[in-house]
């Protein structure tokens, strides 16, 4: 059978379960084990650009915040470069652009501090509006959910963004916009993720 295809099967996903913290954020599980936990500092001390906070909840189909989720953040720096060999250009020393965030065990609130990413190059050279890729795992989520955080003060860039424009239902695009407010003069963006129901967040098959 000379034409037999020999691709391997992608390993199937399984839920991260309720105790994901043990593996990926052991301090939150209640013990210290590693010299340094990974994903605590997204931008590092040398990153240029505007320092921002992003916060929100993950809300289930009953309208309740999920209290055992883990989120991972992946973003470019203010110049629109990812910390990766094919990331588009150099990044500041200490900028990784990746981080881990957990929802609070009591309230379900999550938050992280970073720098606002710049526009990145899209396919065919078209610019992508500033955005942060977000990946969500939890008990009851069989395969990680991927979405994007855009910024509601970037109206012009968002209107031209090829990914937002790919969403056929224009009213659903708003589910990807984080809403800016000022707290003690500093920008805070609110991004609530709805897994079901009215205003279900757009999730991507990437």
């Amino acid at each position: 059978m000379p034409q037999m295809l020999s691709y391997l099967r992608e390993t199937a996903s399984q839920t991260a379960g309720p105790f994901v913290h043990i593996g990926l954020a052991p301090g939150a599980a209640g013990f210290e084990i590693y010299r340094r936990e990974l994903g605590r500092d997204i931008a590092g001390p040398n990153a240029m650009g505007e320092r921002i906070r992003v916060e929100g909840t993950v809300i289930d189909g009953m309208g309740a915040p999920i209290k055992d989720a883990l989120l991972e953040v992946w973003q470019a720096n203010a110049a629109g470069h990812y910390a990766h060999p094919q990331g588009g250009g150099p990044v500041e020393a200490g900028f990784r652009g990746w981080g881990r965030v957990i929802t609070d065990f009591e309230t379900g609130e999550w938050e992280f501090d970073t720098v606002k990413p710049g526009a990145t190059r899209g396919r065919d050279g078209a610019a992508q509006a500033p955005h942060i890729v977000l990946w969500i795992v939890a008990r009851g989520i069989n395969i990680g959910l991927t979405t994007r955080i855009y910024f509601d003060d970037e109206a012009e860039a968002n209107a031209a963004d090829p990914i937002l424009n790919l969403i056929e239902w224009e009213n659903r695009r708003a589910t990807l916009l984080a809403k800016q407010s000022l707290r003690d003069g500093a920008p805070v963006y609110r991004f609530d993720i709805r897994l079901q129901g009215e205003n279900e967040t757009v999730f991507f098959d990437i």
């Binding site: 399984q14 990331g87 588009g88 990946w135 989520i141």
Partner: protein, 242 residues
């Protein structure tokens, strides 16, 4: 990296759907609308890069990384090893692999776990390592115990170890669970059964690997992980058409 093409679209016939009635928690946590399919951009094709500075040498030895000096956790000592490959069977080197698990009695060291079995003072239950240049990884740990969970009241999880793997693109990001060959609880588990393909379930089952056993010390199991592969083609899709 020679292949700079897009990732192969995910084969959803091998992956669990979001909504799986047998696993009750998924019912209120499964998105109801279809996912929007994207052609990869730089945001998905790149991903975090890890290096030796991120992990310590003993992080992959769960028998010692939390134990008191001279002590050892209770349980069946095992070596769990394998390779991280992509769908093209190419090794994925220098990628971060993290694991977490219950102890031999089926109890997690987590402030939210209330199961009757005791925590083991010498067992943390997590480890991490980077794959080598051949994509190989190994951990030393103990075989995790089965435990009951609130789904149907007769549900017991088969002994399992949770895995988190990165690859080189954020779109390859994977969390999964590794089971152990011969466990009669595997086909009865509603979480295992979220996977719709029998061969894919077999792939989640580590095989007894006597040749990798450390004689008179630890028995060995092998668990290979396959991440999405990338196209490598002389034809590029151009906006104006080829």
């Amino acid at each position: 990296m020679t292949s700079a093409g897009d990732l192969y679209p995910r084969d959803w016939a091998l992956q669990p759907p979001a909504l799986t009635q047998g696993y009750k928690t998924s019912v209120s946590r499964a998105p109801r609308y279809a996912l929007i399919s994207l052609q990869n951009t730089v945001s998905e094709l790149t991903g975090p890069v890890f290096g030796p500075e991120d992990v310590a040498a003993g992080d992959n030895d769960l028998l010692t990384n939390f134990a008191q000096p001279g002590e050892s956790p209770i349980g069946e000592r095992i070596i769990l090893h394998g390779r991280v490959l992509d769908e093209n069977a190419r090794p994925v080197p220098n990628t971060l692999v993290e694991i977490w698990q219950a102890n031999a009695g089926g109890r997690y060291r987590h402030k939210k776990d209330t199961y009757l079995a005791p925590v083991d003072p010498n067992f943390g239950g997590c480890g991490r390592t980077l794959t080598d240049e051949n994509g190989a990884y190994h951990f030393r740990t103990l075989k995790p115990g089965a435990y009951p969970w609130r789904n149907h009241l007769s549900n017991w999880r088969p002994g399992h170890i949770h895995f988190s793997v990165f690859g080189t693109s954020f779109a390859q990001r994977l969390v999964t669970q590794c089971y152990f060959e011969g466990d009669p609880l595997i086909p009865l588990c509603p979480i295992v059964q979220t996977v719709p393909d029998q061969a894919a379930i077999e792939d989640l089952t580590a095989k007894l690997d006597l040749k990798a056993t450390l004689p008179l010390d630890s028995i060995a199991y092998k668990f290979d992980i396959v991440l999405r592969g990338r196209r490598s083609t002389p034809f590029e899709t151009r906006p104006e058409g080829n």
